[in-house]
Symmetry: C2
């Protein structure tokens, strides 16, 4: 049962509403923002995917070269060595590339609906060998010690999770890759439990195992251990192919509430929820049978990659979760949930 209250102004942001951030490129998609409150405003840390304006018969896309400069790679669409059946990833001579390059950019709003660029706050681009294909889907954990950003680092050698710390959104400290490949969908808990930091993450395995949600613990948020599997995919259900954590879990009286995404083998992405023990978040108390949100609005069903609702950002006021999400891998939308209502749906 879809219990999301969608914003009537959806979609709030589309590629045409912003200027490309990389010279000579166009914005292909706006995706899955991190969300936080700062200086009395609501901020989205958008994932922006850009590529060169496409010429007929040619697929071209940007990567960072060894000097850290943007370089455009092009392949003829006729090439028998090319597999371009997925709009997100292409394979050429057995090697995989992304069709777009993603980076992170800040927009802010006073009403939570109308967002504007923040040119004084610099975008965050990929940097170094582990980010030559860009950075994606950033979660923002708001802590007593500033903001911790966890995001996907993509390169030819790996897909893993990177960590950045900032207090002012102008000065960033990069801590490198905190979860080794293949890993993404990392959501930090915003407070310690029993003196330790915790995080959800989503390793993927080529054999034995799958695309499951794991929990890890840390003394410092930089180094992680004691990994445990907390939720697996469920055969025949809406979350049978892959699952991954959304934003930071929400502390409720009944436990930690985590909104997660689940996809089936048709790559249809829905949202569900997990409830975890307050003292020991490796214990799952309850889990959604049915999705709490499904791609049912037109803008969620059609776009760059249709039938997708995906979230990794929200803020909480009492019982209300204000969630921002990516729809069809192309536009940014908003929906509200009642925490009580979500808890009532859990088995």
């Amino acid at each position: 049962m879809d219990i999301a209250k969608r914003c009537e102004q959806n979609p709030l942001l589309a590629p045409k509403n912003l200027k490309a951030g990389i010279d000579g490129m166009e914005i292909t998609c706006l995706l899955n923002p991190g969300v936080f409150r700062y200086q009395d405003k609501i901020w989205l840390l958008l994932r922006i995917a850009e590529r060169p304006i496409q010429k007929e018969g040619i697929i071209s896309f940007p990567i960072y070269n060894k000097e850290g400069k943007i370089e455009v790679v092009s392949f003829s669409k006729d090439s028998p060595d090319l597999n371009a059946s997925d709009p997100r990833v292409i394979s050429y001579k057995g090697k995989d590339y992304l069709t777009t390059m993603s980076y992170l950019r800040l927009v802010s709003s006073t009403d939570g609906i109308h967002f504007k660029d923040e040119p004084e706050f610099p975008p965050i681009f990929g940097k170094g060998e582990l980010e030559t294909f860009g950075i994606e889907d950033c979660r923002v954990a708001t802590t007593e010690d500033g903001f911790y950003l966890t995001f996907t680092e993509v390169s030819p050698v790996a897909v893993g999770v990177g960590l950045i710390h900032t207090k002012d959104w102008k000065n960033y400290v990069r801590y490198g890759m905190i979860f080794p490949p293949h890993n993404k969908d990392c959501a930090l808990f915003e407070q310690k439990i029993g003196g330790r930091y915790f995080a959800f993450h989503r390793p993927s395995s080529p054999e034995l195992g799958g695309n499951y949600i794991w929990l890890a613990e840390s003394p410092d948020r930089l180094h992680w251990g004691n990994h445990k599997c907390v939720a697996v995919t469920r055969e025949g259900m809406w979350d049978c192919a892959r699952i991954g954590a959304g934003a930071a879990p929400i502390k409720t009286d009944r436990g930690w509430l985590e909104i997660y995404h689940g996809a089936d083998f048709n790559h249809r992405y829905c949202l569900g929820a997990l409830l975890l023990d307050l003292e020991d978040p490796s214990k799952v108390i309850a889990r959604s049978e049915d999705p709490i949100m499904e791609p049912i609005a037109p803008y969620e069903q059609t776009g760059f990659f249709g039938n997708v609702v995906f979230t990794n950002g929200h803020y909480v006021d009492g019982d209300r979760i204000t969630m921002y999400y990516g729809a069809s891998d192309e536009v940014i939308c908003k929906a509200e949930f009642s925490i009580k209502e979500i808890l009532n749906t859990l088995k």
Copy 2:
């Protein structure tokens, strides 16, 4: 060029030389021992793979059930749902199982050639949900603070790296999974560099990336971060399909020397070497063009899984590396190397 000096008594240990450690089982294979010196003796921490005595027409193998008890699972070899083309892994109705259950067992020797059981020192069996298919290929790091064991934990949800600490080989402290799936081949450095602990590990990716050697750092050996890729597979070469670290790296004047295994797409396993910067082991100074050891002896070419030399244990005296290794995934052998000779082969 194969520069290993093989022991004339090879193989030193075969399945028939030891009694099964699990009631009702037989030893199928002896594999890839960790190696250490203790109480004036040389010790091997063998990986022992056992299964029930097989009956005609049926494949049966042990797993731990939810109560931590051994349970035998059986499938008819005629079943159309069964894929048993690999002697190590079978697939039934799309789910993967191991054909044997591995655990770790100690044997000791005064001459390094004749090894005997050590019944006073208990074997290490898999324990808990992440080890229901057993534990494998244990590296032993000998440190100022006792012995640290890193090994592969196998279960239906994951293949990852576990950590155990012991000072006396009787009392063990288990620290859970330190590298999340899909990961194996973890070799700890035996001393700190710049105040931090380091380890090699081998994540595997279903897409973007492959089976590469990575380096991580830690404040405490329990929690790991700042992951970096240090060596990748090489197209068209003996190490084109997968590579992984062997035992703890050896400190030499010219750098950290790491013996690693490399396999091609025919699953032929050879050994090579990496030389890494003493101060910054993420920097590779040199790497073997050709293997330093190949499966050329009869016992390395034929067995449970032929054409395999695989090592994760050695001890060092001056210029001499005394290495123990698994041959054909079935028997335990010994070979010696000169450190100088290895360094001379590196490009």
